[in-house]
């Protein structure tokens, strides 16, 4: 995981490159952040947290990871907004439609 990061020449333009393509170093940084958040998520398993706090916290961390992978690894941050629109449309539609279905099944109240 270190070879190409070290081999990659860090130049003053590296940050400008990030506008087009993030450097390997940047990718590793993102991965580290994701790993930390995952560790935090897993840590909740070992700690006693009331549900009203736990579930929103888990959702926030999940969305954070989701966003980071989509924005950086899937390059959406740098690419045409059209790609993001397709992805978000699918996500929003799925959430809406299945959210309503779960509601009809009284999932939120009765689990």
């Amino acid at each position: 995981m270190t070879t190409s990061a070290e081999a990659h020449v860090e130049s003053p333009e590296a940050d400008h490159d990030a506008h087009d393509h993030p450097t390997d170093r940047k990718y590793v940084q993102v991965a580290i952040v994701l790993a930390i958040v995952t560790a935090l998520e897993v840590a909740t398993y070992f700690v006693d947290i009331p549900g009203e706090v736990l579930i929103p916290a888990l959702m926030v961390m999940m969305v954070f990871k989701f966003f980071y992978v989509a924005a950086w690894f899937m390059h959406l941050r740098f690419d045409s907004p059209l790609f993001t629109k397709f992805f978000v449309t699918g996500l929003v539609l799925a959430t809406a439609v299945y959210g309503v279905t779960l509601t009809v099944f009284e999932f939120w109240t009765k689990g």
């Binding site: 699918g90 809406a96 439609v97 279905t101 509601t103 009809v104 099944f105």
Partner: protein, 664 residues
């Protein structure tokens, strides 16, 4: 169409597979990647299925013509009405819309073909494979009998122990793959391959409606895919998705099915709305009234269609809050459709109307769909629907919108675009007989069903008892069905007669209808390469505006003849996508996988072999189409082979086909 394309395979193709050279005859048709031929294949196949579905309809009407009918036993009746519905929805209306979309969409946007021509061919062959597979159930004597909606657990193993429902589920899965791939293909095509100057808001309304339909397919097909997998797993692998005894909820099926099913009905109707949005302006000699509203209402229908599905479930026990919510959302969806009806009428108002056959059919759509739409509005009121549901009133509604709306629209399209595809017109006289017989017969059959339904005649039932007062209208309806048949017969005769006549007559020439949209720039029939040169678009109805201008008083005045404006089809240097065997090979593997899941897993092996062989053959097939904005690599270095589309196609194909493989 008969022009052979000489294609050189690159110096050293990888693998043993070389690309077919230009072919003629049947080999041309089975290896074609030309969107126009694929459109014709869809259309012809769908019409064969139309005959089968129509036969199933006639059997139903024969059985129901009299009380306690004895034409079909109860079990057979269930199979016939199930297959009638499945056939008409999935093997007639949808592929007919696909036929028009495939043929016209590239032409209407000024493109040479779709973004992924081989994927396009694959969609057709996969559709055919699925349709044939499903109908095999008849041949093995075990056609599905659970209704087109296949409610579980009735369609689970306990209550449907035969193989029919497996044929249903697998056949629809296969056809779903075709639709999904088509949707992806056409979306990329519309976004990426429009002629210069053609902004989205200069596209013809037909193209817009097709685009909306592709988005609906894109997001709705996966939902029924899930439902069908769950059903298959319940039936074949001991899953418990719909088994109430194990704690499952039958409503899960209904939700998943109708989350697909409601967008599906807009998938069925929007293409025909698009067709008549081209026909009505042409035959009224006026531009479509309120083009932006036509586009936005189509988008709105596509969008809102996702929010109404449980109106199919008002009496299923979802509870009063859900019922109320879906009742309200259903009322709202009438609005964009109403906008369209008003716009079509406003287009005709003050126009110089010619009632040629396409216009007759288009007018039929406007009137019949209005009736069907109005009954739909009555369904939206949940208390009223509680009485209407599961009666013939519903059957009346959906036949008015599907037959009166979608099918008549398709016939309008046939008559309108026949000269574009085949170089001659369909006969007007026979056309009028076709229309009137179909219209009268259709109203005879389905009009009375409103009455029968409100009088309490149950639907989905093989017979009714005497003494309820159902006898007269049922007999009347059954007679009407045969009048429809005569009308369809007129269509068939028209096709044959006009083809015969065309043999010793001069070709129809360009622009027989004095039309408006870009497909008419090309000669009739359309040459294989579509456009001699790229059309520069500066407005909606570009073709019309090249022919007509305005004088100082603002009156419309002809400035150019059709011959001057239309291209002559003589260009010979356009590179075309090369034909390929692999779509057919890949598609042929799918039924084997289906049979394997039904009978013995060993059948899956040849299926998988065919599929993987086809995928790899596809990937390594030489691409020799260097120009055009289609993302293919060009490799004249003799070194490669292919990249992008085939691998992506193969990704799609593998992703989709893997979902066909046995899981668990």
């Amino acid at each position: 169409m008969s022009e052979t394309m000489e294609i050189e395979a690159p110096a050293r193709p990888i693998g043993v597979y070389t690309r077919p050279k230009g072919n003629t005859g049947w080999r041309d048709w089975i290896t074609t990647v030309d969107h126009k031929k694929i459109g014709i294949l869809y259309g012809a196949t769908a019409m064969v299925f139309f005959a089968i579905g129509g036969l199933e309809a006639l059997l139903i009407r024969l059985q129901l013509a009299t009380p306690n009918g004895t034409v079909l036993g109860a079990d057979t009746y269930n199979r016939v009405f199930t297959m009638h519905g499945v056939t008409m929805v999935f093997m007639v209306i949808m592929p007919l819309a696909a036929a028009f979309a495939n043929y016209l969409l590239p032409l209407q946007i000024g493109a040479r073909d779709v973004a992924f021509p081989r994927l396009n061919a694959l969609s057709f062959w996969v559709f055919l494979a699925g349709g044939l597979f499903l109908n095999m159930a008849w041949i093995v004597g075990d056609a599905p009998d659970g209704g087109w909606f296949a409610y579980a657990p009735n369609t689970g193993m306990i209550f449907s122990p035969g193989k029919g429902m497996d044929y249903y589920a697998l056949g629809l899965q296969i056809m779903g793959i075709a639709s999904l791939m088509s949707a992806m293909n056409l979306i990329v095509t519309v976004l990426n391959m429009r002629a210069p100057g053609m902004t989205l808001f200069k596209m013809p309304v037909f193209t817009w409606m097709i685009l909306v339909v592709q988005f609906l397919l894109l997001f709705a097909v996966p939902v029924i895919t899930v439902a069908l997998f769950l059903l298959l797993f319940d039936r074949n692998f001991g899953a418990n998705f719909f088994n109430p005894e194990m704690g499952a909820d039958p409503l899960l099926w209904q939700h998943l099915f109708w989350i697909f099913g409601h967008p599906e009905v807009y998938i069925l109707i929007l293409p025909s709305f698009g067709i008549i949005s081209e026909v009505i302006p042409t035959f009224s000699r006026k531009p479509i009234f309120g083009y932006p509203f036509m586009v936005f209402s189509g988008i709105a229908i596509g969008f809102m269609g996702w929010g109404v599905w449980a109106h199919h479930m008002f009496v299923s026990g979802i509870g009063p809050i859900s019922v109320a919510a879906f009742s309200v959302s259903t009322m709202f969806i009438a609005v964009p459709t109403g906008v369209k009806i008003l716009n079509w009428l406003a287009t005709m108002w003050g126009g110089k109307i010619r009632f040629n056959t396409p216009m007759l059919f288009a007018s039929g759509v406007v009137s019949m769909f209005t009736i069907g739409g109005l009954s739909g509005v009555t369904h939206s009121l949940a208390p009223a629907d509680t009485q209407q549901t599961d009666t013939y009133y519903i059957v009346a509604h959906f036949h008015y919108v599907i037959f009166g709306g979608a099918l008549l629209g398709i016939f309008a399209g046939f008559y309108f675009w026949w000269p574009k595809c085949f170089g001659h017109l369909l006969g007007e006289k026979l056309g009028k007989w076709n229309f009137w017989l179909m219209l009268v017969g259709f109203n005879m059959t389905f009009g009375p069903m409103h009455i029968l339904g409100l009088q309490g005649m149950s639907r989905r039932i093989d017979s009714y008892s005497p003494g309820f007062g159902f006898e007269f209208w049922n007999m009347f309806a059954s007679v009407g069905a045969f009048v429809i048949t005569l009308g369809v017969l007129m269509f068939v005769i028209n096709i044959i007669a006009s083809a015969r006549k065309a043999r010793h007559e001069p070709p129809v020439g360009p622009d027989p209808w004095d039309a408006r949209s870009p497909e008419w720039f090309t000669p009739n029939p359309t040459p294989v390469h579509n456009f001699d040169e790229v059309i520069q678009i500066s407005s909606l109805d570009e073709f019309w505006h090249r022919k007509y201008g305005e004088d100082e008083d603002g009156r419309v005045v002809r400035v150019a003849t059709a011959e001057e404006v239309c291209q002559d089809g003589s260009a010979t240097d356009t590179h075309l996508p090369s034909p390929s065997y692999w779509p057919l090979v890949l598609a042929s593997g799918l039924p084997f996988v289906g049979f394997g899941l039904i009978y013995t897993l060993w059948f899956c092996v040849p299926g998988a072999v065919l599929i993987f062989m086809a995928i790899y053959g596809w990937i390594f097939e030489p691409v020799d189409d260097p120009d055009g904005p289609h993302g293919h690599g060009h490799h004249d270095d003799g070194d490669d082979h292919d990249d992008g589309p085939p691998e992506e196609t193969s990704d799609e194909a593998t992703a989709e086909t893997a979902e066909e493989a046995p899981v668990g």
